[in-house]
Amino acid sequence: MATPVSQTTTESPLLSVRDLQTSFFTDKETIRAVDRISFDIHRGETVGIVGESGSGKSVTARSIMGLVDSPGRIVGGSVQFSDADTVERLAEEYPDQTIDLADIRAEHDPATLIEQLQSRGADLTRLNGPELADRDPVELVREKAITMSDLVAGGYTDQLGITDEDEYIVREADGGGFVDITGASEAAYRKIRGRGIAMIFQDPLTSLNPVYTVGNQIKEAIRLHQGLQGDEAHQEAIRLLESVSIPDAHRRVDEYPHEFSGGMRQRAVIAMALACKPQLLICDEPTTALDVTIQAQILELLMEIQEDRDLAIMFITHDMGVIAEIADQVNVMYSGELVEKAPVESVFGAPKHPYTQGLLESIPGRHPDEDRLRTIEGDVPTPNEEPTYCRFAPRCPKAFDACDVVHPVNVDVTDDEDDTHTAACLLYPEELSENDAVNHHRERGDGGDEQ
């Protein structure tokens, strides 16, 4: 059972990933592990990321957490985290890297800025949503469809020399604003991790230190992030263990990780993450190593916690059953790219991208009357060059000639007015003829994805 979709599209997202690109530079080649992906996560919402191994799911999570190790690095795009508390804390710490929107508004008029940008021939497509594509930006500003905040977020003020590229904290006068995490230094990252965004991994043993008691490790997080000490911290640790349904927490708090079972270790890790009071919880295959009965317990726990705390969750898994259970919104990744994005009911009910279709078809039990399982031929390719073609084409049963020469962009494939469903495939938009659809992708391919 998926929790009802709680996101309201009018509210601005808690986390907004735009054109994020993370590459690994080896002697042999450059691997574009995450290749210009964009998606949003709202408060109280669970966004699932699915894909086969090697599709870039975990690198996406690590990019958001600032945990990409050499030879990898984020080479483009932005990750905007709009948590007022985080913005405030960072702005105080790093005033030199903070932009006060109020100041900029006082000095500049967005319409004039857009005119300046146009006269310089800057690429303004990233500002235009699909429905705004053919309209005059100056007019849009007057209608407030584009604001100063958009210009700053899009990096246009950097181009004009109004702001500096290393200014990544954007503060609104009323306490809002966002932090572009990709610009943060390691020290600043440490302020964001835990209290802003926490992460739990597949193997709980890698997150637990075997020589300290579980209680000690939770208390460390409590000390660092909540400033509690001594008995207060101890009681808080017990309370946290109880909140993740560990029975007899009074005794368990003094035990070592090896005395916990696999499911209980994962609960303890979740308790540690909660000790930091995060706004966003990234779960990287947290139940893959667990039995189904324990998996059911953990999923139930995560849903409860989310409801209690209005937590945003990004949930990475390759198990479509788990995604159906927990996610509100699903992003399907293939070879570093985001190929389909939709509410969970649409992904399972009406998958559009042939890859998503293939992935769902290969689950045992989808066609009980068939003897053989349906498969997707071939393997996931390594994304080691600029995509000028569809990376799925060699394996795609519906591929045609254009797939080898035109790179598909995410286009709107919504059936139902209420949700947004996009897919990166030349077969769409469905209402266009094949030729027109291909041309549509070709033109848009130069200007970035629709949002």
Partner: protein, 545 residues
């Protein structure tokens, strides 16, 4: 096969089950100076696997399914019971008999990463069993119309009567006709046979012009092709392959010696769903091509449902339910099967099911519960008459309290704990009022109710906590909590057992036959005086609403 095997199995036929397991137990750590407390990984199982059948084995980790699989192929030795393979008890085999038998039963491991040697090429890996077993042994079958006694010399050895011989020599006619088995990459031309016939005996001398080395290499190439790899993969190393390809290598290796029976120990658990589908299709193809019999161990129930003819569900070393796959999935009779199936996430977000979530984890197989192994977690455990109508909250809290006491008893005390106990510093139970409050108060702690706990006496706090409990259960629970606070936790535990235990925790159930197809289930609920599992779960789920 050896002489001994043949003598042992005079009744070998093709219609009985291929594998028959009777009362099998596999314990670990059976030794020990101060009396042993072994891990009862497999604790008395009986079942049979028919020829050409796929039997699925499912259960949580620690249920003993891998140990059972390993015992069947004699990678672990059985503590008790027998494993009949073609009528021969293989648990008694040793030495060369065991080695010869191993050709018939092979295993594919879960993790292709660790089960392939990284320093060997794929070709060497697949070839290793051939080298170890001296394949091919050029077994020669001599078909003599006069039925004289036959001796074989030269490169060949005499084939056992029931084995497929590598070389068959037909003595009818002037010159002997020679035939070579398909699995060997050579023609009859490469075999030179000289026959000297006497009235009562024939001696055949065989010389083969092709080296075993060549034949083995050809066999490996053929195997590579069989499992969907290519010939050029022969000289590559495991790290150059993807997970799915490595699993194919593992499968090719297990097939090298032409086994009849293959244990597949979670062969697709580490793979992506699209790769998993390909491997499952491959296993299916191989089974029909070579007439293999599979024991398929898995924890992914949708995979089991797809590939298996019959399924056995294991819990704590016992088979809880075993029967036809579809029947068992659609209408589980054992409460454990029911709960396990209920936990599978369904790849359909619109599905709206009532889910049974089991509490806790399986108990330690070193110290399994008395009675039914599932009794400590069973959501539809049979209750004593007087508590049959208490509400779910009360029953759940009683079970939780028992679980906590049980775990505290099992807890291994470290040096520090012992020292503390000796000094009277800490008994581990001084916080038990907190625990009781947590367990018995509806929706967690009293803080939620806004009750100030700090200034109340223990007795008042216990009474407060028990307010939410059904009146019938209050008295014994209060007594038990007071016993714990008086450091008599063993008595407290005993009191709880005495009061709240039913047959489930006291007697081992029987394997009841629950359907026409011969499905059996290990549960007290099948006795006529109790409600059936399905009814019990319906009641449980409707009371939860």
């Amino acid at each position: 096969m050896s002489e001994l095997l043949e003598e042992d199995s005079p009744t070998r036929t093709d219609d009985g089950p291929l594998v028959e397991v009777n009362g099998l137990k596999t314990y670990y750590d059976t030794g020990g100076l101060f009396g042993s407390n072994p891990v009862k990984a497999v604790d008395g199982v009986d079942f049979a696997i028919d020829r050409g059948e796929t039997l699925g084995l499912v259960g949580e980790s620690g249920s003993g399914k891998t140990t059972l699989g390993r015992t069947l192929v004699q990678l672990e030795s059985a503590t008790e019971g027998e494993v009949l393979f073609d009528g021969t008890d293989v648990t008694t085999l040793s030495g060369s008999d065991l080695k010869n038998w191993r050709r018939e039963a092979q295993i594919v491991f879960q993790d292709p990463e660790s089960s392939l040697n990284h320093r060997m090429t794929i070709g060497e890996i697949i070839r290793e069993p051939l080298d170890v077993h001296g394949w091919p042994n050029f077994s020669v079958a001599v078909n003599d119309p006069d039925d004289r006694s036959v001796s074989v010399s030269g490169d060949g050895t005499r084939a056992e009567p029931n084995d497929a011989a590598d070389i068959t020599v037909e003595l009818a006619g002037a010159a002997p006709t020679i035939a070579v088995r398909d699995a060997l990459a050579m023609t009859a031309d490469s075999v030179d046979v000289s026959v000297s016939e006497q009235s009562s005996s024939v001696s055949v001398s065989v010389s083969v012009a092709v080296s075993k080395d060549q034949l083995r290499r050809a066999r490996v190439r053929e195997l590579l092709e069989t499992v969907g790899l290519r010939e050029e993969h022969y000289y590559r190393y495991p790290h150059q392959f993807s997970g799915g390809q490595r699993q194919r290598v593992g499968i090719a290796r297990s097939l090298a010696l032409e086994p009849e029976f293959v244990v597949l120990d979670e062969p697709v658990s580490a793979l992506d769903v699209s790769v998993q589908a390909k491997i499952l299709n491959l296993l299916d193809d191989l089974q029909s091509e070579f007439g293999l019999t599979y024991l398929f161990i898995a924890h992914d129930l949708s995979v089991v449902r797809h590939i298996c003819d019959r399924v056995a569900v294991m819990y704590l070393g016992h088979i809880m339910e075993i029967g036809e796959t579809e029947e068992l999935f659609q209408n589980p009779e054992n409460p454990y099967t029911y709960s396990l199936l209920s936990a599978i996430p369904e790849p359909d977000p619109t599905a709206d099911r009532e889910r049974v979530t089991l509490r806790g984890t399986p108990p330690s197989p070193r110290d399994p519960p008395s009675g039914c192994p599932f009794s400590t977690r069973c959501p539809v455990k049979i209750r004593p008459k007087e508590f049959r109508d208490v509400d779910e909250h009360t029953w759940e809290s009683v079970e939780t309290l028992r679980e906590i006491l049980r775990e505290r008893e099992d807890r291994e005390m470290g040096v520090r704990d012992h020292a503390k106990a000796l000094l009277g510093l800490e008994t581990g139970f001084e916080d038990f009022v907190d625990v009781a409050e947590e367990v018995f108060t509806r929706n967690g702690s009293l803080d939620a109710k806004g009750v100030e706990t700090a200034e109340r006496t223990d007795a008042a706090r216990i009474d407060g906590a028990l307010d939410d409990v059904d009146p019938v259960a209050r008295e014994p629970l209060k007594e038990a909590i007071e016993l714990v606070l008086a450091d008599k936790e063993t008595q407290a535990h005993e009191l709880l057992i005495e009061t709240f235990e039913s047959d489930c925790g006291e007697q081992s159930p029987e394997h009841h036959t629950v359907s026409d197809s011969g499905r059996t289930s290990y549960c007290h609920r099948h006795r006529t005086e109790f409600d059936d599992t399905a009814v019990a779960f319906d009641d449980l789920l409707s009371s939860a609403e």
